[in-house]
Amino acid sequence: MTAPPGATLSELRECVTAAHHERKRLRLRGAGTKDFYGECVVGEPVAGDALDLRSYRGIVDYEPSELVLTARCGTALSEIETALAERGQFLAFEPPAFGGDPTIGGVIAAGLSGPRRMYAGAARDFVLGATLLDARGEVLRFGGQVMKNVAGFDVSRLLCGSLGILGIITEVSLKVLPMPRAEETLRFPLSAQEAVAAFNRWSGQPLPISGAAWCEGAAYLRLSGAASAVRTAKEGLGGERVEATSAAQWWNALRHCSHPIFNNSSIWRLSLPDTTAPLTLPGELLIDWGGALRWYASEDRDPDAQNVDVRAAASAAGGTAICWRGPAPSTGRFHPLQPAVAELHRRLKERFDPHGIFNPGRMIAGL
């Protein structure tokens, strides 16, 4: 199913209310760059008719001096980034595009952030407001277009990362930031262990860090900000300067998951406290987010054996593990939730989408 070209909100509402009454399941879809992402039965696509939301598109409002951009869910990320770049601004959470051109609705529904996440903030930190089309066809506006807003529960941030299970995010207002005036990347030959230690040491100093990653014996540190701040920091840190084009390539490869290690068939994504020493897990390691994000990539592994190892290791370190690629283990792609938290997911789902029409099973099996 595709929303009609240039769909209006009322046409989307019709699609949704019809589905709600017929109890027909809908698989919400933007550009499909994240079709791989989410919980689903091994070898089967997520249940439901695909509802293509790309036709509900367009930047609704953008005022650079307000640092706010509002767009409909189907707007292409590239369109937004181009509009921002024209005014010297950008989305500081560096959403991944996975080699395609995702819609902003998909970006927010997935809630994924790039290399700047620990320094500028995560996708949800930039959400100022969102409009939700729920299963009953109600159009609900939460948050707004201002920097500070504590009226009502913060449902707009709840929607960020909700994977469409609560309804269609039809519109979002995002905080945008001026692009940094200067940027430099430094390279340091370090072991993974040394890199994690160095990242944490550096992060405790007033340095303009905007990225810290490691792969194959080298740590990369990105500095962004005022030219003078970047210059002073660079002089104090040492390391080898990475030429601008290759630096941009490196950070883009991390942001969009296009680094060669992503060619492996089995990939785990671990989120850990950033001080965690490298875990002894098989596969190639890529560290991002100053140590808080660890990718382990390899070929052909027994998923259930992996599940035990990787999940247990991540949990023991106080973190979580997502099976990013490769056959999902029996406990699911996503790290299982604490029972009380899982129960809250069920209750919230029940209230926003009582018949379970939106993205069934995409976040949690059976929900």
Binding site: R117, E138, Q145, M147, F153, V155, L207, G319
Partner: protein, 484 residues
């Protein structure tokens, strides 16, 4: 008697000095920072441990007693106003800093720890906790989480929601919830973001993990005078448009500077219609560059005078007036009523003009201090509660400001919360379906509806009533009766 039974049940679980029931003991808890609303609670309970908190909740749930959590009671929207037949649950005794991990740049705190204590404890490591509400000497971190509090530096460093990594606490059912963690971006719905700013309606927070950030090497502030409030408002937008994000960007109008100057001797230009304070922080070179840039933008925007702080003492002096604006209001007027709307920055000037017109209409003075960089306004309406009719006028004046905030594309509260104070204005900002969604969220966490009931979200009936009062335009029926 109900009070006796509930007290007896709680005294079986907690030491005698943790359950207060005598009138003179209850009295100090009758209000928070919103002193216009007072209510003696049935009981006050002061647990010392997380387990005691859980037991209090389980017992109150079983006996169907409403519970209102309280941190330091500095809230300005009546979020911690007690419930007449409920337990006021003070978290003040859970006041330990459990852990400071300098390498990981985090602090693990009990909810009763005061905001400033965190930065003090982190200072030896060159770190601090960024959100700095003006009440930071007194307000608790649990209260900050419940209100999603901000401060003068949140334009650059974010609000509470951007600086809290995880929380632990209990639902009214006594279920332990751990939301967020030291590891970022846990899978599942972002319940941490939902819980922050939930005004004590969803859970009682018993532990908070916050992010600590390195203290910048240097900070300097530019103080600029303007002959017109609209010009000052436009100057704020011009700074942002120039690609500058100052560490702080605040505005005070002439009435505000006149009130604070005798009090703190900050050296404000009393002839100016408005002054702006714009702070730059970072390395010495970076600060020098940014200050020069800010000065350039401000002079083009029409600043009539500018002074830059040359020493740390001078910087603090420039800020002292802004930080003491509320107490200063208390000195120039018997009572003041602090509003907290947010609007798009471009509307700052028109908003100030509109407030000026309202002053005449309501016959009350209003001084304005703004977190201008975020568009967050704190008009302080001055009144005397002992003069009949003045509080009612102040209340209506405030409601009109908030409605204008909504019309100008903003919100009724930027950082102080809805509580009971702004509950009617919620009817203006949110539709019936949106309010129903809020109740649905509430019910998911607290099906029995016993945690801080009657706050933050107005019922349908209440909005209908408010709507009726509204059409009669200003002249409220029964203005002698308490409206809340």
């Amino acid at each position: 008697m109900r009070q006796h039974d509930v007290a007896a049940a709680l005294r079986q679980l907690l030491p005698a000095d943790s359950v207060l029931s005598r009138d003179e003991e209850l009295h100090p808890y009758e209000c928070d920072g919103l002193t216009a609303f007072r209510q003696i609670p049935m009981l006050v309970v002061l647990p010392r441990t997380e387990e005691e908190v859980r037991q209090v909740l389980v017992t109150c749930r079983r006996l169907e007693v409403p519970v209102v959590a309280r941190g330091s009671g500095t809230g300005l929207s009546g979020g911690a106003t007690p419930h007449a037949s409920g337990v006021l649950l003070s978290l003040a005794r859970l006041n330990k800093i459990l852990e400071i991990d300098a390498l990981a740049r985090i602090a693990r705190l009990q909810p009763g720890v005061r905001n400033l204590q965190v930065s003090d404890a982190a200072a030896p490591h060159g770190l601090y906790y960024a959100p700095d509400p003006s009440s930071q000497i007194a307000c608790s971190i649990g209260g900050n989480v419940a209100e999603n509090s901000g401060g003068v530096h949140c334009l650059k460093y974010g609000l509470t929601v951007h600086n809290v990594l995880g929380i632990r606490g209990y639902t009214m059912e006594g279920e332990l919830l751990e939301l967020g963690s030291r590891a970022p971006d846990r899978p599942g719905l972002d319940l941490l973001a939902l819980a922050i700013g939930s005004e004590g309606l969803l859970m009682v927070v018993t532990e908070v993990i916050v992010k600590l950030v390195p203290r910048p090497q240097l900070a300097r502030v530019v103080m600029a005078s303007f002959a017109d409030v609209c010009e000052a408002g436009n100057a704020v937008a011009a700074i942002i448009a120039a690609g500058i994000i100052p560490a702080g960007l605040e505005m005070m109008d002439r009435k505000a500077t006149a009130a604070v100057e005798p009090f703190v001797q900050a050296g404000y230009d009393l002839a100016a219609e408005a002054i702006l304070l714009a702070e730059a922080d970072g390395t010495p070179e970076e600060v020098a560059d940014q200050i020069a840039e800010i000065e350039g933008v401000l002079s083009t925007a029409g600043a009539t005078a500018m002074t830059v702080s040359n020493t740390e003492a001078e910087r603090l002096r420039f800020w002292s007036g802004r930080k003491n604006a509320f107490p200063a209001a208390g000195r120039v007027s018997p009572d003041y009523y602090c509003m907290d709307g947010t609007i798009p920055r471009k509307n700052l000037g028109p908003m100030l003009k509109a407030i000026e017109a309202m002053e005449t209409r309501y016959g009350l003075r209003c001084m304005n201090v703004f977190h201008a960089g975020d568009g967050n306004l704190h008009p302080l309406i001055l009144f005397d509660a002992n003069t009949p009719g003045e509080w009612e006028r102040a209340d209506r004046f405030g409601a009109e400001i908030l409605e204008l905030c909504v019309r100008l594309g903003g919100t009724i509260t930027g950082e102080h919360g809805v509580g009971i104070e702004k509950i009617n204005s919620m009817c203006v900002q949110f539709s019936e379906a949106e309010r129903a969604a809020f109740f649905a969220v509430k019910a998911a966490f607290d099906p029995a509806g016993l945690l801080n009931p009657g706050k933050a979200i107005p019922t349908l009936a209440r909005c209908a009533e408010y709507g009726k009062m509204h059409v009669r335009g200003g002249a409220l029926p029964h203005s002698d009766l308490p409206r809340f």
